[in-house]
């Protein structure tokens, strides 16, 4: 099967840890064996205990209290410490043939842009241990409530993406909050939910002309050329498209998992399994071929029913 790892990143509070737990829960119901890896020295608590936890090596609280560093300096220190002790990580990873890791990353964008710490961990996994990698970038959906904020979100995603040359998926999290109409709305709950969802959908599968015209309507003429450039980028490269996600909705999480699998080409290397009893399939519903079938079925649904949803942008090299 091979070794796969998906890195969940995004600004603080965007819902990374929650999504990690949701993905694990979903994978477990599919009978898949996935492990949680925590790379955030400042993390607080988890629903599922991580299989590998960097806080066992070094934790932010300890560093701050022992070395008298602030939260930012402490975080950088933790990461540098990890890089000096990558053999610890190696030991933890072991040498399994099959692995599927969900990695919870720290939020601070400085770790990605100003230091190459995360890149080095990624390349360590990819090169030394032949992992297939994928990165998920999370943004809270209620921040994207008009065109310019959508541009801002897209640009910040691109900014993070450019540093890590791995397959990339952008996700708008907490869409369930939109439907509950809890964020800054004065109209009735049901009215807001529909309107909010519809306005979000506008950004999930953007129409370039509409995007450009609404952006130009709400910004200064000086910025119109820039708006056009952003729209061009969004239109040309599906890798900057967003997927909605609701960590409480199993279907949403399942779709997300399918996208992740596809980005890493999980399951493509599967050997054909020995055919098993059809009866057993029907009874247990948990046969070895089921996983792959389910992934394929999800795909067909996506392609036929929701052809508008952008594919998980893969930077295939």
């Amino acid at each position: 099967m091979g070794r796969y790892a998906v890195f969940i990143s995004g600004p603080a509070g965007s819902g990374k840890s929650t999504l990690c737990s949701a993905l694990i829960a979903h994978a477990n119901t599919l009978g898949r064996n996935v492990h949680l890896v925590n790379l955030d020295p400042a993390a607080e608590h988890f629903t599922y205990t991580p299989t590998i936890d960097v806080r066992e090596l070094v934790s932010l609280q300890d560093v701050m209290s022992e070395l008298g560093l602030g939260p930012n300096g402490g975080l950088v220190y933790c990461f540098e410490y990890l890089l000096e002790n990558l053999d610890w990580l190696e030991e933890q990873l072991g040498s399994f043939e099959d692995d599927y890791l969900i990695v919870d990353c720290p939020g601070q964008i400085e770790l990605y842009t100003h230091t190459n710490l995360v890149q080095r961990v990624l390349s360590f996994l990819a090169v030394s241990h032949s992992f297939r990698l994928c990165q998920l970038y999370l943004l809270e959906s209620h921040f994207v409530d008009d065109v310019t904020k959508f541009f801002a979100g897209t640009l910040s995603a691109m900014s993070a993406m450019i540093n890590l040359e791995v397959p990339w998926i952008n996700v708008l999290s907490k869409v369930d909050l939109l439907s509950r109409g809890t964020v800054g709305s004065t109209s009735s709950a049901s009215g807001t939910s529909l309107a909010a969802r519809r306005s979000l959908e506008r950004y999930l599968d953007p129409d370039p002309l509409l995007l450009a015209s609404s952006a130009n309507a709400s910004t200064n003429p000086r910025l119109h050329a820039l708006n056009a450039a952003v729209v061009r980028l969004v239109d040309d490269f599906s890798v900057v498209h967003f997927l909605p996600s609701d960590a409480n909705d199993e279907q949403s999480v399942g779709t997300l998992l399918s996208h992740i699998d596809h980005a890493m080409q999980y399951g493509e290397d599967e050997e054909p399994k020995e055919p098993r009893d059809m009866d057993r399939f029907e009874d247990e519903g948990d046969g070895p071929g089921d996983e792959q079938e389910e992934v394929e079925r999800d795909f067909e649904d996506l392609l036929s029913g929701r052809s508008g949803v952008a594919g998980a942008g893969g930077i295939e090299i």
């Binding site: 600004p11 400085e110 450019i162 040359e165 200064n220 090299i317």
Partner: protein, 457 residues
């Protein structure tokens, strides 16, 4: 009568801008500078250096004042606000400090949060009291030249949080605000890191929609010439990008299998190259809409050019942001008035005894004694206006606008079609009233408006 400092709205020139100027106070003297940047880029250091520079300049201008009353000159030159709850020592003395209001370590303990959660919650708690801070700032806004706000260390706690947005918007609606985006120059010498940083800056500009200044800090350690070159010459930047390991400048033994390889072996057609090139094109447009300076907050160099960038940003605010704000206020006020009108009418209707159904209820400006049933919300019934007049007590929410027959329908019926055709519809039976104005001041205002129109017309 129009706002005294408004040197910019002559272009608008219509009575509308004069009216709108009543909605917003005149533009204050202060510039608000929001210092934003990644952790370690030097925001706090810059705030301190800027403040010292401003004080020195002020002292040079009034040496006598400085010697006699040092505190006065320093407080007039700059006003410092610290919004970082987790900073341990600052090299300046803030006038307003979030740490005086919120103790982030206590927050962490009390709410059982980690460091990130603690900082975010501390900022949230402070934001609930930010209206008081705004009151203080507005109070000083005509004495102080520059108000400098130092934001939390981790940039996304400010830029992608509700609190940061609230603080930014509150500032921008009261003072000419600009964003000073501080770049850690020595750490952004790799083309891809540079691009990543610039894309993030662009993202912040879109989010705040405020005038933007990129400040290349730490020029004493790394000269910002390369940045300038990349910003001015697109081809040079592209060349640097496509050359080999663009994401890493000094690391040996990185061995990223996904590196583009020497001389772009993948060729220009690879997905990554094409995406990156498109991004670079986007950035070129971005550079045209912002300004960039290079400073060193350690040595204090580059401050004059930064300050002139702030002045340019102020002008941009006044030219572009402020009119949008005025338009927004006007439309919101109008909606508010319409809503009030409707509510008062509804209330009047509820209070009134039902009359015998008489036609022609639309005698608002004409026969005041008449009246029948009011059929729908937009009809004016003179009895409503009388009631409203009687009820207009101080503190009462309703305003005198009910007197307005806004629809031409009403006037047509009373004055006949002929007059409208002649284009002489007297749109307002008396005058349009501002909120809570009485007739005397309305009359005065109308005279002033006419004067203004005559001057501009």
């Amino acid at each position: 009568m129009a706002s005294a400092s408004s040197s910019t709205t002559p272009a608008a020139g219509s009575s509308r801008s004069n009216q709108d100027a009543e909605l917003l106070p005149p533009i204050p003297k202060s510039n608000a500078i929001l210092v934003i940047g990644m952790a370690g880029s030097g925001k706090s250091t810059l705030a301190g250096a800027l403040s010292r520079h401003l004080e020195a300049e002020a002292a040079k201008r009034n040496p006598s004042a400085a010697s006699s009353d040092p505190s006065a000159s320093s407080s007039d030159a700059s006003y410092l606000v610290n919004l970082d709850p987790a900073v341990s020592t600052l090299n300046y003395e803030p006038n307003v400090d979030i740490r005086d209001t919120v103790d982030y370590k206590r927050v962490m303990d009390e709410y059982n949060l980690g460091p990130n959660g603690g900082i975010l919650t501390a900022l949230n708690l402070f934001t609930t009291k930010f209206d008081q801070v705004m009151g203080i700032l507005e109070g000083r806004s005509n004495e102080v030249d520059n108000i400098i706000l130092d934001t939390p260390g981790q940039i996304e706690i400010f830029t992608w949080s509700a609190s940061g947005t609230i603080i930014t918007d509150s500032l921008a609606s009261a003072l000419p605000t600009c964003i000073a985006y501080v770049v850690d120059t020595p750490r952004t010498t790799a083309p891809a890191t540079f691009m990543s940083n610039m894309l993030y800056a662009c993202s912040i500009m879109y989010k705040t929609k405020l005038p933007f200044i990129i400040v290349f800090n730490k020029e004493d350690e790394q000269d910002a010439g390369f940045a300038r070159e990349w910003m001015e010459d697109f081809e040079a930047f592209q060349e640097a990008l496509n050359k080999g390991n663009a994401t890493d400048q000094v690391d040996v033994g990185r061995g990223n299998p996904r590196a583009r390889g020497a001389a772009g072996q993948e060729g220009e057609a690879s997905y990554m190259n094409s995406l990156v090139n498109s991004m670079a094109l986007l950035l070129e447009e971005f550079y045209n809409s912002i300004r960039a300076v290079s400073v060193s907050s350690l040595t204090g160099s580059g401050m004059p050019s930064f300050l002139s960038a702030v002045q340019e940003a102020r002008q941009e605010y006044v030219d572009e942001y402020r009119p949008e704000l005025e338009a927004l206020r006007a439309s919101r006020k109008q909606k508010q008035e319409e809503r009030k009108k409707r509510e008062v009418e509804k209330m009047m209707r509820d209070l009134r005894v039902k009359p015998s159904g008489k036609a022609a209820p639309k005698a608002a400006t004409g026969a005041r004694g008449g009246g029948g049933e009011v059929d729908d919300d937009d009809e004016e019934d003179p009895r409503i206006t009388r009631m409203a007049d009687r009820m207009r007590v101080p503190g009462y929410e309703g305003d005198g606008l009910i007197m307005e027959p806004d629809d031409d329908d009403v006037l047509l019926q009373t004055h006949g079609a002929a007059q409208t055709q002649a284009g002489q519809v007297p749109r307002r039976g008396g005058a349009q009233r501002g909120e809570g104005e009485d007739l005397a001041s309305v009359g005065q205002r109308r005279r002033e408006e006419q004067l203004a129109r005559a001057r501009l017309g």
